[in-house]
């Protein structure tokens, strides 16, 4: 079995320790960090995402694979920085103020990282100012918001209005998601896009960032 296939198999099985060992071996064998990142970790997580979307695997499988991916990425990180290899783009993400439901948001963050994006996860119960301040400070291209409760969904509109009031609405694209949301609601509050699941969020973010 070649090393990339071995990566893929161990990611699927959530074998974090083994993925760490393989990453070290691949580097020792002279494989370029970028190639390990793209062809092993990102490619592996893309397959995981596709299988999850097709209901072939479940949430715990994705999360175990994500842990394995993070182990590999942590090992690669200093090499990527040394070689000046940057991420595809930067995304600030969080669950809106008053809401602590974050499974969906966490999945989006995992799939975005797995697709090669840098993700700044603000967690849950995030005040509107913090979304805007962080996106500006980090020079993020995308600001992503999640809400589950119907009573907290209006906080998304507040964030968008705040960005407008501070004249920074054109500094980043705003994407929204959450089980209660719809495309119509996203349009009504002035979001740039509605993402219905983690893989859709990756496609959406890619579209915005790669089209620049």
């Amino acid at each position: 079995m070649d090393i990339l296939a071995e990566f893929s198999e161990n990611l699927h099985n959530g074998e974090a320790e083994r993925v760490g060992i393989l990453t070290g071996q691949a580097l020792a064998n002279g494989l370029e960090p970028r190639k390990i990142l793209d062809d092993a970790l990102i490619a592996g997580m893309t397959v995981i995402g596709d299988r999850f979307k097709a209901h072939e695997i479940f949430l715990p499988d994705v999360l175990m694979a994500a842990k394995a991916m993070y182990v590999g990425m942590d090992i690669l990180k200093p090499y990527l920085i040394k070689e000046g290899i940057s991420t595809i783009g930067k995304v600030v993400i969080g669950t809106v103020q008053g809401d602590l439901h974050d499974i969906g948001k966490n999945l989006v963050a995992i799939f975005l990282r797995g697709a090669g994006f840098e993700v700044i996860d603000l967690g849950n119960d995030v005040p509107p100012e913090k979304f805007i301040d962080t996106a500006l400070k980090e020079n993020a291209q995308i600001l992503g918001m999640s809400a589950l409760l119907t009573t907290t969904m209006p906080m998304m509109k507040k964030v968008i209005e705040l960005a407008g009031a501070r004249n920074v609405r054109d500094k980043f694209k705003i994407i929204v998601g959450g089980a209660s949301l719809s495309r119509e609601y996203a349009q009504a509050i002035g979001a740039d896009a509605y993402c219905f699941d983690g893989m859709n969020a990756v496609d959406c973010v890619k579209r915005y960032i790669l089209s620049k």
């Binding site: 715990p60 499988d61 008053g98 589950l148 409760l149 119907t150 009573t151 209660s180």
Partner: protein, 242 residues
């Protein structure tokens, strides 16, 4: 008037494996792999050793509850609870918590990138918190039965701020009334409870018919569970059997 602090036995609110897995998006007819089952078993063990369930149950008059219900006036105009509590015979506000330790356990797992274990424990704790709220509802029902206030034509149902058109900001008044700091629960600026695995609300008891409502309100379109259907059906289930 009932006004009690309750110690809830942890063993009475241990969720079943299938309900934890349901929280992870795995339905009863799907077969998870061995690693997933082990994670769920570990979550149950962790719950058993770390939760300190407690609750407060306090009966309240309709007039006093009207003040809590109104909050700062942001409820949906058609929220079913607005009609139901006014038609109810007995009302009690409640709050339950699993305690601080379980939230810390969940956070530690997330911080250590043990995402699957963290998420599984989070699902297990959420289910246990719901069961703690069920426990206190059942306790209230038994109190009403003992005092002759609950008969064959009586129904009981609980509601929480943030759901079914009842706005979250009712939490402030609810906290003023219940003083849940007595069992270690506080409210942050976003109206979220600390510890996170806590549930507050009102339990309404009254003629079964008052609990019938459709799930066709504008806010129902945004609801993902429509669990009100099962709760209403449960009230009338007994009538069908007899």
């Amino acid at each position: 008037m009932i006004n009690e602090i309750l110690d809830i036995p942890a063993t009475d609110i241990m969720p079943a494996m299938e309900s934890i897995l349901k929280g992870q998006g795995i339905s009863q007819n799907e077969i998870p792999n061995r690693k997933t089952v082990v994670l769920a078993e570990e979550a149950i063990q962790c719950l058993m050793s770390t939760i300190r369930p407690a609750g407060i149950l306090s009966e309240i008059s309709r007039d006093d509850f009207a003040v809590i219900y109104r909050g700062s006036g942001m409820n949906e105009t058609q929220a079913p609870l607005g009609r139901i509590f006014r038609a109810g015979a007995d009302l009690a506000v409640f709050i339950v918590t699993l305690g601080k330790i379980i939230s810390r356990e969940i956070s530690e797992r997330f911080d250590n990138n043990d995402l699957a274990a963290a998420s599984m424990l989070d699902s297990a704790a959420s289910e246990a918190a719901e069961m703690a709220a069920d426990y206190i509802e059942t306790y209230y029902r038994s109190c009403l039965e003992r005092s002759g206030r609950f008969g064959p034509s009586t129904g009981i149902m609980r509601f929480s701020p943030g759901y079914c058109g009842w706005h979250m900001n009712a939490q402030k008044e609810l906290f003023n009334f219940l003083e849940p700091h007595r069992i270690g629960i506080s409210l942050n600026d976003s109206l979220l409870m600390q510890p996170l695995k806590s549930i507050s609300g009102v339990i309404v008891s009254g003629p079964k018919e008052i609990f019938r409502f459709d799930d066709s309100f504008s806010f129902c379109a945004d609801c993902i569970t429509h669990s009100c259907r099962d709760r209403i059906n449960a009230i009338f289930e007994q009538d069908k059997q007899t």
